[in-house]
Symmetry: C4
């Protein structure tokens, strides 16, 4: 009986953290965890504002304690109950396999800095805490079943080859343009164009039309080449935008075609 209760609790725990099963319990837990992640990220962000960090240090600390507690329970609960998932059977191997999934590793890294501080590790764990930001990607799960998300995925899948080619062509343009600019400008601006990798910084700023202005050609030849590159950079926008546009339109037309029946006589209209 105690074994039965144990396995029932484990099964309940699994359902608690598994919104995809369609149960009400998992649905509410999911929303709670998602909200906590969002607020947690807001806290990580606001804590970097010195004025707020000092004024509300207590609130930040207690919210931190609460968050880590909930995330720890969630993490342990999910790993413990993972064996109820047919894909992760076996008390040790199944759990290890489950825990080594990328999302679970992120979840683990999100809570471990706190415990390391507790046991006295003196290293700078600020960067590790930033890992909590990566949990933001879990919010994307909310959009997983939306038709818009599926539509985006299908269009990108459909146009994958063209998008990769457009990206490659731009990368090629970036390498050629930045190298040329290095050879032209380096003798006149040894600081700004100290090497070709450094010139990439100018190249990206120009091709994407961001144009910070911290680095720019000053020689007539450099400015001529820069102008040509900036003009070509417009393709960097035009190509992906037009590829995606054609993808969305084809999709809409296919959707319509698969459902084109005359409402009067019921015959399919081709």
């Amino acid at each position: 009986m105690s074994v039965g209760r144990y396995s029932a609790t484990r099964r309940w725990t699994w359902e608690l953290f598994e919104p995809d099963l369609g149960g009400k319990l998992g649905y509410y837990t999911d929303w709670f965890i998602m909200t906590l992640i969002a607020v947690n990220v807001a806290m990580v962000i606001l804590e970097t504002v010195d004025a707020l960090a000092i004024a509300y240090s207590g609130a930040f600390y207690y919210f931190e304690l609460f968050s880590v507690a909930v995330f720890t329970i969630e993490y342990l609960g999910r790993v413990w109950s993972a064996v109820d998932n047919p894909a992760y059977e076996g008390p040790i191997t199944g759990r290890l396999e489950f825990a080594s999934r990328p999302l679970l590793i992120v979840d683990f890294l999100a809570i471990i800095p706190f415990y390391l501080t507790v046991v006295g590790v003196q290293a700078d764990l600020r960067f590790l805490r930033a890992l909590r930001l990566i949990r933001l990607f879990r919010l994307l799960k909310l959009a997983r079943y939306s038709t818009a998300m599926q539509s985006f995925g299908l269009v990108i899948e459909e146009k994958k080859e063209k998008l990769i080619l457009a990206f490659s062509a731009n990368l090629l343009l970036l390498v050629i343009a930045s190298s040329a600019m290095y050879y032209i400008e380096n003798p006149h601006q040894p600081e700004a164009f100290s090497s070709i990798p450094q010139a990439f910084w100018w190249g990206v700023a120009t091709l994407t039309t961001v144009g910070y202005g911290d680095v720019h050609p000053i020689t007539p030849l450099g400015q001529f080449v820069g102008a040509v590159v900036a003009m070509l950079g417009i393709g960097l926008f035009a190509l992906p935008a037009s590829i995606l546009a054609s993808g969305f339109i084809e999709q809409a037309e296919n959707d319509e075609k698969s459902a084109d029946y005359c409402p009067h006589c019921g015959e399919k209209i081709e």
Copy 2:
């Protein structure tokens, strides 16, 4: 008879300020008010140019008097005659309900700063006067019945879900990119990247390709991450542009199809 004359005047006032009734009177009043709003906004703008404010202080003052007078008459007239609108019956509740509509509140806020100055309030009402700029939105009413406006509305309505998802994905990218840049650049530029919210300023300037150049990464790692973010930022343009394009095209095709007839039974397909 006096009651009859009173109610006739009120009805006439209502029609005077209600262009949607289709009467000629309302049409001309509407154009007059719209023009006055446009000129008024031009005045608010030009008055901030010191040279003009000093040279034409008298003209500005008298035009102000005239505008406030007209807007006050319009405001009182509309509230008084609101009860002639079946939706706002009841001498007090109807008028209060009418006056609490957002557009009417803006109209009220646009004239009240003048009277507060008159009765001796010494506060800085410059900002309140700027509320008059909000009245600019009333000019959009002119486009209300245009087919272009309706087309825009329909396309945005149709593509709402995709546009929101594209916006959310960009917001997520903004949070991740700005946070990462804070952790990378803060030790080297404690002023420019003093906190994550401050780093958002860099993030938006980069993702939208505005690139003022007041804040930009200076470390090699920061510049590498910045370059990747700038590249990804191109999606910020490509996604909404391609979504809207597909929306406009589908609309045009549906318009055409609405005049299509089934080839099997000859009935019109709507």
Copy 3:
């Protein structure tokens, strides 16, 4: 006979300068004049480079003489022979009417600065000489009959209402954003945001994503508003691009539809 020869010469002159008549003579003259305009514009541009202006002052001067001579002959010839065009009959009224067409006025303004200098007018005629640049627009005539030019014209004509609305919405956004930024930043940057018209300079640089960086908000509230405006500015690109895209696609589809006949049985396919 002398009258006949006179009128034959005049008719020949008219055909010489009128490429639209389809004659070989007009065609070659047109190409010669077009080329001369292009080279002339290149000269006006290069002459502003001090080094070149000094080194080749002679060449610039003689080319100037030659250009003005040709343009003067062309101008006088066209005005003199204009009466052979049925639309400009009457020796005086016809020629005056012809000479007062915008393109002819530009042609006149392009040669007159030279003669004013000759007769001793000492004014700064540099700006007037720049009028010669306006003649560049005549080069557009070369594209007049191309199908691409016609296609652009048709698409813009078709989408006129939507493009105007998109432009108006952006203008409205510019006014609201720049005014708001003036009230927010003026107390902290009285120089950069000295007036609302001055703030427009920031507004345009941000909405078009040019982002020179000479003017930008420095207060947290200003940066927040600036970030929102930059985000909204993306619509400035997305709207016209998607409107034009739908225009080009509809056009292509209509072109196809008007010529859709089965190549096997000859029946029209609807």
Copy 4:
């Protein structure tokens, strides 16, 4: 027999370097050469970083030796065996004709700087070594047979006339805008707007929305003209993006149509 062995070796060499013949040998050589080019370019790029150039000078040198050796063998092998290609018959004329193809000249220029250094030429050959970057274009060969590459080519071919017209219109706008800005700003910023060609640098930065910020108008009139140009510059993006989008969509529709059958006679319509 020796002649037979010679010509067999030559034939084998030809197939070794000719991936288009479809043989396995050529396929593997091609991948090896392509990879070596990519790594070589990476080396040329990284060698400009002083820290790396000093720390790994030996590795750079030996990799250089190895690359030049392979590229030399490839170059000589291809020229020697070119006569096996029916298009380049004749032991001398055929090989010279083959060696004078642009790609072969680039290949020659990519290896010759090394030998010039060896024989003691003291000139600055850094720029010549940069020619090796041009070999990057050979990587495009990898994409030659991909459907995405063919699709890009067809769309650009199809829309050539419109793209050229859009480009010409922008060039015209650039000339007019930059010249106008020169006449307006030169008296106030003689350095930044020293000549019209110099003003082009501002014009390109503005029309492409790069906006470095090193040069920008400071007079009210200059800023007004600059704002108008920046607004018009949006067309620089909208036109090519929408032209390409319509090209991709028409292409997709034609692909679909190629499998359509006439509803009247049932024949396939190609």
